[in-house]
Amino acid sequence: MKMLFAETPAPKLNLGKKLWLLNWPFLLLVAGIALVGAGALYSVAGGTFEPWATRHVVRFCIGLALLFAVAFSDIRWWLNGAYPLYLAVLLLMLLVPFIGVESGGARRWLGVGELSFQPSEMMKITLILALARYYQWLPPEKIWRPDALIPPLLLIGVPVLLALAQPDLGTAALFAIIGGGLLFLAGVSWFYFGAAIVGVIVALPHAWEMLHDYQKERVLTFFDPERDPLGSGYHILQSKIAIGSGGLAGKGYMMGTQAQLNFLPEKHTDFIFTMFAEEMGFIGAVVLLALYLVALVFITYMALRCRSMFAKLVAAGVGLTLFAYVFINVAMVTGLVPVVGVPLPLVSYGGTSMLTMIIGLGFVLNAHVNRKVTFRRQEVRALW
């Protein structure tokens, strides 16, 4: 029975079957969250679809097409392509300091004509794929060995360091969270995580020295926003005022005073949750968070149902990404963590982050469609 399980030939899937296997309720939920985003952007713009709401919807539709393309593609392609993709994106990240476009004191963007994109965004997905690929290949009995931990730590460490060098603290933290979470899910011993935590506590003072002044300033004002209410603490303070003044039921759709009167910075991107919470109140904010939580439950459920380690880890990894985005963003605007510039996925205005998230969800659905697929040892070994 056990042997049979491992050697079940991959079920042949045609498009019709795949359509049937797709998790449609989940897709509906995702579309619902994006629509909430469009509504919020409509309100932020002062009751017009221009300039943000329309483009948000258009981008979501383009993203949806990509999501379907990813979801219906053969999972083996991604298994085979995980490492080359990772290396290609890593190369792009390396190139950013040289040919990147500077904006706001940091070089994060690569420009190709009119288009510009952030390789570090793509890295979030390729990192998940590469790690999943590694643990698919690693024989499970070797997972406890310390030398088996070296390649995945390299896979995580290099992009973290590159992101720190850009400098982009938020992205580096996201890489670390995603990578660490995947190692944990893959079954790396608790012992290593304990050691890592001790190591971080020891290394923290040194890391503090290496931070840029503006990053230090952000952390310091986070601990005491009133320290500089018109300077760097301004964002947090104004955001808290806006959220707090919303109360239980909110000021009503398009009635938010703080966001509308421009007391809020970046109200259509990183601080959109603030405006949403101001207008919709505690009830609206909790409902939005509940939508995300339901999406996360869906993703965990789909990950559990997958047979192959690769599919499990890909789905769970994207779930981790979604969670990290939502948590950091909401914690940031409510003053729980420093302002690091992380958007609220599917709701914030912004092309690259939306595309990343939606492609990631495409991979979740891909894993779900291919939940019965397993890979034979030889098949995996033959690659690389």
Binding site: K2, A6, G46, P139, P140, E141, I143, G181, F184, L185, A186, G187, Q238, K240, I241, A242, I243, G244, S245, G246, G247, L248, M255, G256, T257, Q258, Q260, L261, N262, F263, A277, G281, F282, A285, V286, L289, Y292, L293, L296, V297, T300, A303, L304, M309, K312, A316, L320, F323, F327, V330, A331, T334, G335, L336
Partner: protein, 635 residues
């Protein structure tokens, strides 16, 4: 026992049997995924708790803070102080400026509104793109300036059309008008939009159309002229519209300034030097230090710059030939040439290296080591100090300078106001240069040579002075007091005489007599420029300074090769009241180009008796509240 059981197990399951790690890993994944899921749910709970804290528990507190955010304060621009000349003629004043603004938030469509407006006022494509950009960048409730300086006809027409053009606003602000612009331009300066650095210092600079002094007196006295802004506190509704006015503080008009300049003399001075390509004149009252005229050609009209400047015209002014924007009187640095001999003579006398009786022979050149320095003519024998000044003999001063050394000469020069800025009240004054041994070592890393001392004695070499410095030098020689120049009348009525210089009055007398000889005696270098007023004599000194060494002469055009012409003078000779300087760049000889200008300006000043007539006193006693002129809803 243990051994046995293991073996038994092995027998039971088959020899190659081992634990199913794949299965184990899968179970572990499930366990840990659920654990992570529980952690995520817990952290979401934390967010929920935080939202509860902000929105339920402390909500009333934040609501209060948010209400404070709804009160907007609007600054009201103060009226700028006026500038008068010494007899009360208005030179610069604020005039009503009718402006057209749009509030993008209230426009149905911004391009449509602009189209409608363009039927009444000119809306260029540059203006259009500026307005569109501003509307995109900032909140739609900030007014954006479309046009200013509207005629009454346009203003009335737009007011009639207002109900049909949504988002349009009219207001009355102020613009700066300059009278007698061209002669007064360099002195009075002009106003312009505040620079970025200034905006960060003072929020009033953010008001649309607010202008600050960019040059001249407008710049150096900007803090006094500017006044202090008022403010109005508004309560605004959720859309930023004004509900009611809560509180207001009136703005205070800036202080009115009275210049020491007489615009009449200034006009005459400029007219007189217009024939030259680049020249400047300074006329000052030697008793008070007040500058009566300070003209520099080429000049400009500040009206062309301060309000709606034409970019092409502005480029011409800023980068044009001969730099019309440069005030040569304080920013032109010239070798003083023979006018500097006044200082050399005084320094020689007070150092004791020469006395009034000593005579020298001028063979037409002077040898230092193997180098020969020429005199402009062979004066022959019997040249004493008086004759040397009168006939401008170089050899006499070569020898004098060599005897006393450069450091002593430099210290006397500084005593007479050379080599430093004088803070007359104009921004951008240049310090000139009085060289000494320490300076050369510091700046050129080189030792000082005797030959350099010798040519410094006749105001060549490294020595540089501005026309204003020469005027102060002349005034100090004429009075023996430490006169300092000023352009703006002081508030105090009582005038205190300047402190005496530490110079022997007898030596000053010798030099003054020499200067009288220059203009009034036979063989004086400026004899042709004697005053035509009976009973009044002028004392002066010509200067012709070489611009390039003979070695480099061939590289330059004939104009550039020509010497600078200088003339310094004071009058009346027996009871000095006025000191005047004229410098004509590449004007040729001082007696030919510069002295007649000084004579004419001096004559006019003496006939008008400018310095003795009572000056205008601005009425700054009562503070006039400025008109509240600003757009609705300006934050």
């Amino acid at each position: 026992m243990r051994k046995w059981s293991k073996r038994a197990k092995a027998l039971h399951y088959g020899a190659k049997k081992k634990p199913d790690y794949t299965r184990k890993q899968s179970y572990r994944f499930s366990r840990r995924a659920l654990l992570v899921g529980a952690g995520q749910a817990g952290l979401f709970g934390l967010l929920g708790w935080r939202l509860h804290q902000l929105q339920i528990r402390d909500s009333s507190e934040y609501r209060l803070l948010s209400d404070e955010n709804r009160i907007m304060m609007q600054l009201v621009a103060p009226a700028r102080g006026a500038i008068y000349d010494r007899f009360g003629t208005v030179i610069a004043e604020d005039k009503e400026n009718l402006r057209l603004l749009v509030l993008p938030a209230f426009c149905k469509s911004l391009p449509g509104t602009l189209d409608a407006l363009s039927r009444v006022v000119r809306v260029s494509s540059a203006t259009r793109s500026r307005v569109m950009r501003a509307a995109r960048r900032q909140s739609g409730y900030y007014p954006v300036l479309v046009a200013e300086g509207l005629t009454w006809r346009q203003f009335a027409l737009l007011n009639v059309l207002a109900p049909q053009i949504p988002g349009m606003r009219m207001d009355r602000a102020a613009y700066r008008q300059y009278h007698h612009g061209r002669p007064m331009g360099h002195v009075v300066g002009y106003v312009g939009m505040a620079g970025k650095a200034e905006v960060d210092v003072d929020p009033v600079m953010r008001l649309p159309g607010f202008r600050t002094g960019r040059a001249g007196v407008e710049k150096s006295f900007d803090p006094e002229l500017r006044g202090s802004p008022g403010n109005i506190k508004y309560e605004v509704d959720v859309h930023g519209r004004v509900v009611r006015e809560l509180d207001s503080k009136l703005s205070t008009k800036g202080r009115d300034l009275v210049l020491t300049i007489d615009h009449h003399l200034q006009t005459i001075a400029l007219d007189r030097i217009k024939e030259h390509r680049v020249a400047s004149v300074v006329l000052m009252d030697v008793l008070t230090g007040g500058v009566l005229a300070m003209a520099s050609t080429p000049s400009f009209d500040p009206n062309a710059i301060a309000f709606n400047p034409d970019p092409k015209e502005w480029r011409n002014l800023a980068r044009g030939k001969d730099n019309p924007m440069q005030n040569r009187a304080v920013r032109g640095q010239y070798p003083p040439g023979s006018t500097y001999k006044v200082i050399t003579a005084l320094a020689g006398l007070s150092a004791g290296v020469i006395d009034t009786k000593e005579t020298m022979r001028c063979p037409g050149s002077y040898a230092v080591g193997r180098k020969r320095f020429r005199c402009w003519k062979a004066h022959g024998g019997g040249i004493n100090v008086h004759e040397a000044i009168k006939q401008s003999c170089d050899v006499f001063f070569y020898e004098t300078a060599k005897r006393m050394g450069i450091d002593y000469l430099a210290s006397v020069s500084r005593l007479f106001g050379l080599g430093r800025t004088l803070d007359c009240g104009l921004a951008g004054e240049k310090p000139g240069l009085i060289p000494d041994v320490a300076w050369k070592r510091r700046a050129l890393f080189d030792a000082w040579y005797t030959g350099e001392t010798v040519i410094s004695g006749i105001g060549q070499g490294f020595v540089l002075t501005t026309p204003l410095q020469l005027a102060v030098m002349t005034a100090r020689v004429a009075t023996g007091r430490a006169v300092l120049p000023k352009l703006v009348m002081s508030e105090e009525d009582q005038f205190e005489p300047w402190p005496l210089l530490e110079v022997d009055p007898a030596h000053l007398e010798v030099v003054r007599n020499g200067m009288i000889g220059v203009v009034n005696e036979l063989r004086g270098t400026a004899r042709r420029s004697a005053l035509q007023i009976p009973g009044v004599q002028m004392a002066g000194k010509t200067g012709t300074s070489q611009v390039v060494s003979s070695r480099n002469e061939h590289k330059l055009s004939p104009y550039e090769r020509e010497t600078h012409a200088l003339f310094v003078a004071f009058a009346p000779a027996d009871k000095p009241r006025y000191a005047a300087v004229c410098v004509v760049e590449h004007g040729g000889g001082g007696s030919r180009a510069a002295a007649p200008v000084v004579r004419d300006v001096m004559t006019e000043a003496l006939l008008r008796d400018t310095a003795n007539r009572p000056a205008f006193v601005a009425n700054n006693a009562h503070i006039v509240p400025a008109e509240l002129a600003s757009a609705e809803g300006t934050p």
